[in-house]
Symmetry: C2
């Protein structure tokens, strides 16, 4: 990664940092660790980034923006609330699974940011939560009263999705597609008792 233009070197640095942060944790990782990992000098890192915290912020902010952008695109033209929810879950999990280190850092290192950095990421989180809750509201209009409080349901869904960084291996037996199907069924069935066609019940999907 020696003679890449400036922006691409920053991208590579962020990717490396995300991997190390995800594996060892943000606070346990030193700038010296990152220098070793990226093959540059310690002080060289500061040419691309103002501080360690900005590094963490860039990882969180860029990836969050990417999730939301991907979601907006995926939702385009989708009007059925059930399909909207499916799309939301699928988009979230597919992005998560294909950006595991970054999304783990985003989910797990929420405490590590401070001040304006924290405020900015939290604003994004609120927007994203709002998007989900709007879908849930429309879902209730078309599919009848919900079986659970909307706010609890929203956070429960985020919980089951974000928790995957503790157990899910994107390269393992369980395909992301199946993971999405499973969680969609779990949530839809519980929230509005959405009927599941018997033919759409491939149990024993994976170990």
């Amino acid at each position: 990664m020696s003679q890449l233009p400036h922006d691409q070197k920053l991208d590579a640095l962020l990717a490396s940092a995300a991997r190390v942060f995800a594996a060892r944790g943000y606070h346990e990782t030193s700038m010296r660790d990152l220098a070793t990992e990226t093959g540059t000098s310690l002080s060289g890192l500061y040419y691309y980034v103002k501080s360690k915290e900005e590094l963490l912020f860039l990882i969180q902010d860029r990836n969050f923006a990417a999730v939301v952008a991907s979601l907006r695109e995926a939702l385009e033209g989708v009007t059925d609330p059930v399909r909207q929810l499916e799309t939301f879950i699928e988009n979230h999990l597919e992005f998560f699974a294909s950006h595991m280190p970054e999304m783990k850092v985003l989910s797990h290192e929420a405490l590590a940011l401070t001040g304006d950095f924290l405020a900015l990421v939290n604003t994004r989180k609120h927007e994203y939560t709002r998007m989900l809750m709007d879908i849930l509201a429309r879902l209730e209009e078309t599919n009848g009263p919900a079986h659970a409080n909307r706010r609890v349901a929203a956070y429960a869904l985020f919980g089951m999705m974000n928790w995957i960084y503790n157990w899910y291996d994107p390269l393992g037996d369980l395909d992301v597609r199946l993971l999405s199907q499973n969680m969609t069924r779990l949530f839809l069935g519980g929230y509005v008792g959405h009927p599941v066609a018997a033919s759409a019940l491939p149990h024993r999907t994976a170990g």
Copy 2:
């Protein structure tokens, strides 16, 4: 907390540490912070604890043991799988809500332990997961085929329950009891399509 016997002082120390770890994070908290918090000297802490990591381990291990003990007691005499699952969820959430700092530390600082400490806690986690999956297996026997992979369902449930440290306020509007009901309905409805009596649908439980 000056003239308490040895064991009770250790308990108080663990409680204080759990609060600070939960609020600031394990690695961001220094032994000097804990000394200030507990009103003792820095070196005085080492009379009660061999190291900072042992402090973290004791918090995690003791509370995990307490959850499991409470669960075993609650499950005594309960034979219906649906009631067993309700009991599991209720026990987990009630203990979580009444030991928020400790359970946040247990859920969030899994990476911070190393070596034997880590292995011991992980063993406990496997046992606990096994207990849930056994209940799910019995549930499928009595209530028909599940709508989702059992392993995915188990981790999804842990996800929605453990995630509450990111948003739930035990002192807020939403009672733990209602939280449990909501999550039980969400999961049961999604996993086995467990019917929910219309009379048991108190929507708009809380904000």
